[in-house]
Amino acid sequence: MTIDDAVGEPRVRRLGGHLVLGVLSLACVFPVYWLYATSVRAPGDVYSLSVLPWPLSTASYADAFAKNDVLGMLLNTGVVAVFSALGQLLVALLAAYAFVAWRFPLQRLLYLMFVGTWLVPFQATMLPNYVLLSRLGLLETLAGVIVPTLCSALGVLLLREHLAGFPKELLDAARMDGRSSWSTLWLVVVPALRPALAALGILLAITAWNEYFWPAMVLQRSNAVVQLGLRSFMGTEGNDWGPLMATAGLACLPVLVLYLVLQRHIVNAFVRSGLK
């Protein structure tokens, strides 16, 4: 029940709300629409301003596929996104569980260490990390892209918030029922947190999917993630707009589809998480 259920909401104001929201939403989606519109224009029409792309053409896509191994890139990016998100979830889950289920010395300090990662400029740690990866022999591997991102401060913070709202008595009940903390985590906590984990996982996957800075450093020998594929159509000599937009469209497509399918859950889980 919200205040806006109350009696006497004038119709005009509601229309005003729709108007403002409509304009804002349009401003938000228009670039996305334009991206796709441009990607399906005929090569000669790339600069056309008509809102509806006509005639439709798949030439740009064909071009993109011809010049880059787009499918391979999508696959690689998918692998990175999935494993990175799963890894981050696992690490964050364990950490958040520790923070919520026990009180222990150094707790606050450790927690601040996580928050602190937000303050460390990425540019400052990039080179040492690269050198370390090289020593570990992980350059040019997808693992090299994934491993350094595995500890996500955001994940830990969000899950901790979530878990803090989780009834502690359930943990105690499981203990009384003879469970170790490890099996409690998997049998009690994880199933109950499933929606939140899914929402967070998707957010993390989107972030990992869109990441290009670090992959650009680690994966030199191929356009191994799709965001880097985009770069190969940009250049001093001007951008190759058609295939660029086509690749961009393909790069966003899986995330968009995922989002459209799970939109409700993501937003709801997020909203319910009471992130404050």
Binding site: T2, I3, R13, L21, L24, S25, A27, C28, V29, P31, V32, W34, L35, T38, Y47, L90, V91, A92, L94, A95, Y97, A98, F99, W102, F104, L110, F114, G116, W118, L119, P121, F122, Q123, A124, T125, L127, P128, N129, L132, L150, C151, S181, N210, Y212, F213, Q227, L230, N239, W241, A248, A251, V255, L256, Q263, V267, F270, V271, G274, L275, K276
Partner: protein, 319 residues
């Protein structure tokens, strides 16, 4: 006649007062088993954190006290705080700090004002439309920064771009000192506003609707309810958003700057992170870059501490 006295009923036995304190010795093994679990669960995260964030940060700190061109074999020269002096002596630093402040201020409308507006308005519309608007506003978040940059580069093109053609202007948005920063801010704002809307919506959902209902019954008009009740109660969320904006704005703009303006024109979009990037990766001045990294880290700690303090003072928690 009977004589007697009133006596107090004794309280139940309390042995500590009698000096008998029973104690039980715990073996080290049970003790270890009791204490260890949280640390074990934290181990993976902390190891990753140390290896990939704090250890490099420490290296950076060491590097900031040296002069070295990063080539193995060439000597690393210890120079004390010379790098810091040099850094503080460059006019670029002051300018980039100022530009960072501008970026942060410019981002606030996108991370606070618009999201609050959108979240309040979406609550007002009913049914499916609510979800649809939220979904639309969130959509840019899904577009990779590079792809977003590409589209905007197209839209902002001075001669062929949609923005100029629609507005009937002739501005080279990304290559004019006055507008480049603005463009970067708008594009970044476009990108993150959806996330902020989500955060605000979550915050609003967390506010007990009874407060607004009570205020209405108390005779407050809609705008009074918003100003006197909803916004103050939303203040922790808003504080979180402001903190996030202050700490992360410069990071968020980074990929866009790198793709769209490379810090230009004439450095007008070079904020501190881009400056750090230029020192480290274009000018190969490892010592200076490290000093800048350390300085910015320290600066942000101070800013974050101040902001949290301030936020705690100003925001009203609902509990």
């Amino acid at each position: 006649m009977v004589s007697g006295t009133f006596v107090e009923v004794a309280p139940p036995l309390r042995a500590r007062e009698a000096g008998v304190v029973p104690a039980s010795r715990e073996s080290w093994w049970t003790r270890a088993r009791r204490i260890a679990p949280p640390y074990l669960y934290l181990t993976p995260a902390v190891v990753l954190l140390v290896v990939w964030t704090y250890q490099p940060l420490a290296q950076t700190f060491v590097l900031s006290l040296h002069s070295w061109n990063l080539v193995p074999g060439t000597p690393m020269e210890e120079v004390g705080i010379a790098n810091y002096e040099r850094l503080l002596g460059t006019p670029e630093l002051g300018r980039s700090v100022w530009r960072t402040v501008v970026v942060i201020l410019g981002m606030l409308p996108f991370t606070v004002v618009i999201p609050v507006l959108v979240a309040l308005l979406t609550r007002r519309v009913r049914g499916r439309a609510q979800g649809v608007y939220r979904a639309l506003v969130f959509a840019p978040m899904l577009v990779a920064p590079v792809a977003g940059a590409a589209v905007w580069q197209w839209l902002l093109d001075p001669s062929a771009g949609a923005v100029n053609r629609v507005l009937g202007t002739d501005v080279n948005w990304l290559n004019t000192t006055g507008t480049a920063q603005l463009s970067i801010i708008v594009i970044t704002g476009w990108h993150v506003a959806g996330f902020a809307v989500l955060v605000v919506t979550a915050g609003l959902t967390g506010i007990n609707p009874d407060y607004a209902a009570a205020a209405q019954v108390d005779g407050a008009s809609r705008s009074q309810v918003t100003r006197w009740i909803t916004l103050p109660l939303l203040s922790p969320t808003l504080a979180f958003l402001v903190l996030m904006t202050v700490l992360l704005s410069a990071q968020w703009t980074f990929p866009l700057i790198d793709t769209l303006t490379q810090g230009g024109p004439v450095g007008s979009t070079t904020n501190i992170y881009y400056l750090l990037w230029e020192y480290g990766f274009r000018h190969h001045d490892a010592g200076l870059a490290a000093a800048a990294g350390v300085l910015f880290f320290a600066g942000f700690i101070v800013v974050a501490a101040l902001l949290t303090r301030l936020a705690e003072r100003l925001s009203h928690h609902d509990d």
